[in-house]
C-alpha cells in the first residue's frame, strides 16, 4: 500500500471537502429556514464566479472591490429569486418546489452560457493565487489554502450568527415553526429573504474560490449536485451535519480514487462512489447522520 499517495489524496480530500461543506451549508440554510431545496445551488456558484471574473477582467477592477461587489450582487440576486419565483409557491407540494428550482437551474445555465460564453475562463493571477504551497507532500494552490481559512471563518461566523444575534434567533425560530415565529412578531417574509441572501452570498464566495483554482465555467455547477450526497450524509436540516458531510464526501471521493487506481481499476469510482454511499446511508439511516426524524401527526 502506498501510504504517501494515500496521505496526499486525503489532504486533497479535506481541502476540497471543506468547500463542499460550505456549499452544503448554504443548501441546508435555505432548506432549514424555508423548506425549499435549491437545485440551482450550483448555478449560484457559477454566477458568483462569473460576476467577479467579469468585473476583474473586463472592467479592470481590483480583485477585492470586484469580490465585494459580486457578494452584494449575489445577495440581491438571492432575494430577487426568493421574491419572484419562490414566494408564489409557498404551500405548494414539494414536487413543485423542487421542479421550480430545477427550472431555474436550466434557465440560469443557458442564460449564463449566453452572456458569459461557454468555455472555461481563468482569473488573472491575483496576489499570487497560482503559486503553490506544499502540505504533507501535496502541492496545493495558495487560493485553496486561503479558501480553507475563509471556509473556517464563514463557519465560525455562521455559528455566532445563529447562536447570538437577533436575526439568527429569528431564523432558527422560523425554521422551527413558521406560524409560532410569526405570532411572536418575527417577520417570516424578511427571514426567508435573508436566508436566500446569505445562502446566495456564501455560494458566491465558494464560486469565486473554485473559479480561481480551476477556471470559471458552467461545469462548476456540478458541485451543486455533489452537495446532495453531502447534505444527505449530514442530514438535511443540520448545519454542522452539512460541514461534516462535505468533509466526508471530499475525503471519500479521494479515497475512492485511491482504491480505484491502486486495486480495482474500474475507472471513475471518484465520481460515482458518493452516490453509492448516499443510497446505502438512506437505507440504514433515512434521515442522515445528524438529521432530525420527521414525526408527523394526522
Amino acid at each position: 500500500m502506498n501510504t504517501e499517495l494515500l496521505l496526499q489524496l486525503l489532504i486533497n480530500g479535506v481541502i476540497v471537502g471543506m468547500l463542499y461543506g460550505v456549499v452544503a451549508m448554504c443548501f441546508v440554510l435555505i432548506y432549514k429556514s424555508t423548506q425549499v431545496v435549491n437545485f440551482a445551488q450550483g448555478e449560484f456558484l457559477v454566477l458568483g464566479g462569473w460576476v467577479c471574473l467579469t468585473l476583474v477582467v473586463q472592467m479592470g477592477l481590483p480583485f477585492i472591490i470586484a469580490f465585494l461587489f459580486s457578494l452584494v450582487f449575489m445577495a440581491a440576486f438571492g432575494i430577487l429569486v426568493q421574491q419572484i419565483i419562490l414566494r408564489p409557491l409557498i404551500g405548494e407540494p414539494i414536487i413543485s418546489v423542487i421542479m421550480v428550482t430545477i427550472g431555474l437551474s436550466i434557465f440560469m445555465q443557458s442564460l449564463m452560457n449566453w452572456i458569459f460564453g461557454n468555455d472555461a475562463k481563468r482569473f488573472p493571477d491575483i496576489f499570487g493565487s497560482f503559486s503553490v504551497i506544499t502540505i504533507g507532500g501535496l502541492n496545493v494552490e495558495t487560493a485553496y489554502v486561503m479558501s480553507l481559512v475563509l471556509s473556517l471563518l464563514i463557519m465560525v461566523v455562521f455559528y455566532f450568527f445563529f447562536r447570538f444575534t437577533r436575526h439568527g434567533l429569528a431564523m432558527r425560530a422560523t425554521a422551527f415553526n413558521q406560524q409560532i415565529a410569526q405570532s411572536l412578531g418575527i417577520s417570516v417574509k424578511q427571514t426567508f429573504a435573508m436566508a436566500w441572501a446569505i445562502s446566495a452570498l456564501v455560494s458566491g464566495i465558494a464560486g469565486v474560490v473554485m473559479g480561481i483554482v480551476s477556471a470559471v465555467s458552467n461545469s462548476l455547477a456540478f458541485v451543486g449536485i455533489k452537495v446532495f450526497p453531502a447534505v444527505i450524509v449530514g442530514g438535511l436540516d443540520s448545519i454542522v451535519g452539512a460541514v461534516v458531510g462535505g468533509l466526508i464526501i471530499g475525503v471519500l471521493e479521494n479515497l475512492a480514487e485511491f482504491v480505484d487506481g491502486e486495486y480495482l481499476h474500474i475507472g471513475n469510482l471518484y465520481t460515482i462512489a458518493p452516490f453509492y454511499v448516499l443510497i446505502i446511508i438512506l437505507m440504514i439511516k433515512p434521515y442522515g447522520l445528524f438529521g432530525t426524524k420527521d414525526i408527523e401527526r394526522i
Partner: protein, 408 residues
C-alpha cells in the same frame, strides 16, 4: 385533444411550404456551438458554413447552389436524429455532421437512406465501409471524414513517443490513456494501447478524467503514481486545460499528448502548458502554402464568427466541405447529385486535393473498401513561452495501411 390535431395540422402545413427550389441541393449541417464540445465546435462549424458560402459565391457545384441549413444541436443525440429526419424529408443529399455520439447513432439510418455524412468525428469505427475486418461491429458505408482517424492519430503519437523515448534513453517508456468514459475519448483507447505495446512500451491502466473541466488533482496523483512518461489526453477543451493545470500544480513531469481536438493555440494559451504534443492534418492558419489564399478568402467572406485567427479546426471544416463539393461535381456529371452518386464520387480521384486548396488539404484516398482517407499525421509541439504561444511541427508520420487496423 383538439390541441393535438390542431398542432398536427400546423406541422403538416409547415412541411409543404418548404419545397426545394429548382437548381439547388440541400445539405444539413449539425454543429455544437453551445454544448460540451463548443470549445472546438465554434471553429469547425463556421469552417464548413463559410466554405459553403464561398462555394456558392463562386459558381456553386457547376451552377448548382448548395442550400445549407446549420443547426446547433448542443451535442444532444436525440436532437441530431430529429433534425436528420426533418432534413431527410426535405430531400437532403449529404450531411455535414459533428460528434461521435450522433454520427455513430446515425450510421444505419444514413446507410439505408443513402446519404453520405461528412462527420467531424474521426472514430475509426467509421472507416470500414464493408465490414471487411471481422472485428468491425457495424459497417459504415456512407460515413466519410477528412483526416486520420482518432486511432491512427494516436498511433502516430505513440510512434513518435517511442522514438522520442529512444532519443532520451528511456529504457521502457510508459504510455497512459486519460479521458472520460465516453465514446469520444474512448475511441482510440484500445487500438492505441495495443500499438504502444507492439512498440515495446509499458501500458499503464487508463485514468478516467471527466470531460467537464474541474479540479483534477486526485487524478493527477494517480497519473504520477503510474510512472508513465507519455500521457495521452482523449478529452478536449476546458477539461484538457484543467488537467494540465492541476497536474502542473501537483508536479507531474510527463510528456502530454493530445487528441487532434485537444491541441490548438487556444488550449496552449489558456493552459500555459510547458509542452503539449498534438496531431494535425492541415497547416495552421496563415502558414505559407499555396492554398492558404483560398482559406483567407473564405474567412474574409464568411460569417465572421471565428475572429481573424481561426484554429486549424476551421481549416479542417473547410476541407470537409470542399471534398463534399468535388464529389458532388462528379455526381452531377454522372447521373445527378444524389447521395449514392456523391458516395461514388468520393472514390474517383487518387491522392485527391481539392482545387484551390493545395497544401491545405493533404492528398487523400478513399476506396470502396477503405474509408481511411488520410494516413499521414503531422505531429506538433505547442508551448507557452514568455507569454507567447509557440507551435512547431516536429515530425510527419506516414502510417502503413494495415488491414487489421481498418475500422479499429
Amino acid at each position: 385533444m383538439k390541441l393535438r390535431s390542431l398542432s398536427l395540422a400546423l406541422m403538416a402545413g409547415s412541411m409543404f411550404a418548404a419545397n426545394a427550389q429548382a437548381d439547388s441541393v440541400f445539405v444539413g449541417h449539425l454543429v455544437d456551438y453551445t454544448g460540451p464540445t463548443a470549445f472546438v465546435g465554434t471553429f469547425y462549424g463556421p469552417g464548413v458554413a463559410d466554405a459553403v458560402k464561398f462555394i456558392n459565391a463562386n459558381g456553386g457545384v457547376g451552377g448548382t447552389t448548395i442550400e445549407l441549413e446549420t443547426v446547433d444541436y448542443a451535442y444532444k443525440v436525440p436532437d441530431a436524429i430529429a433534425n436528420y429526419k426533418r432534413w431527410q424529408g426535405k430531400g437532403m443529399v449529404a450531411m455535414q455532421g459533428w460528434g461521435t455520439g450522433d454520427t455513430e447513432a446515425l450510421i444505419s439510418f444514413v446507410a439505408k437512406d443513402e446519404i453520405p455524412v461528412y462527420s467531424a468525428s474521426y472514430s475509426a469505427h467509421l472507416t470500414d465501409p464493408t465490414g471487411a475486418n471481422p472485428a468491425t461491429k457495424k459497417p459504415a458505408p456512407y460515413n466519410f471524414f477528412y483526416g486520420p482517424s482518432y486511432s491512427d492519430a494516436c498511433r502516430a503519437l505513440v510512434q513518435w513517443a517511442a522514438g522520442d523515448a529512444k532519443e532520451k534513453g528511456i529504457e521502457k517508456p510508459g504510455f497512459l490513456h486519460t479521458g472520460d468514459n465516453h465514446p469520444y475519448p474512448n475511441a482510440p483507447k484500445e487500438a492505441c494501447a495495443a500499438y504502444a505495446e507492439e512498440l515495446g512500451m509499458t501500458v499503464a491502466t487508463p485514468v478516467v478524467v471527466p470531460l467537464k473541466p474541474g479540479d483534477f488533482k486526485a487524478q493527477c496523483l494517480t497519473i504520477k503514481e503510474s510512472g508513465a512518461q507519455y500521457v495521452f489526453m482523449g478529452n478536449l477543451g476546458g477539461s484538457v486545460v484543467s488537467l494540465l493545470k492541476s497536474c502542473g500544480t501537483v508536479g507531474v513531469d510527463v510528456t502530454y499528448m493530445g487528441n487532434v481536438w485537444a491541441g490548438d493555440y487556444k488550449t496552449v494559451e489558456s493552459s500555459e502548458a510547458k509542452q503539449i504534443i498534438f496531431p494535425s492534418s492541415t497547416p495552421f492558419f496563415g502558414q505559407d502554402v499555396p492554398g492558404m489564399e483560398t482559406v483567407k478568402a473564405i474567412l474574409a467572406g464568411g460569417g465572421g464568427e471565428v475572429g481573424d485567427r481561426p484554429t486549424h479546426h476551421y481549416i479542417r471544416g473547410v476541407c470537409s466541405a470542399f471534398y463534399m463539393k468535388e464529389a458532388m461535381e462528379w455526381a452531377k456529371e454522372n447521373g445527378g447529385i444524389t447521395g449514392a452518386n456523391i458516395k461514388k464520387g468520393m472514390y474517383v480521384k487518387k491522392d485527391w486535393v481539392p482545387a484551390g486548396l493545395e497544401g491545405v488539404c493533404l492528398p487523400s484516398n478513399w476506396t470502396e473498401k477503405d474509408h481511411r482517407g488520410l494516413m499521414t499525421v503531422a505531429i506538433n509541439r505547442g508551448a507557452f513561452v514568455d507569454g507567447q504561444v509557440k507551435i512547431d511541427r516536429i515530425e510527419e508520420i506516414d502510417l502503413p495501411r494495415r488491414d487489421d487496423w481498418l475500422g479499429q
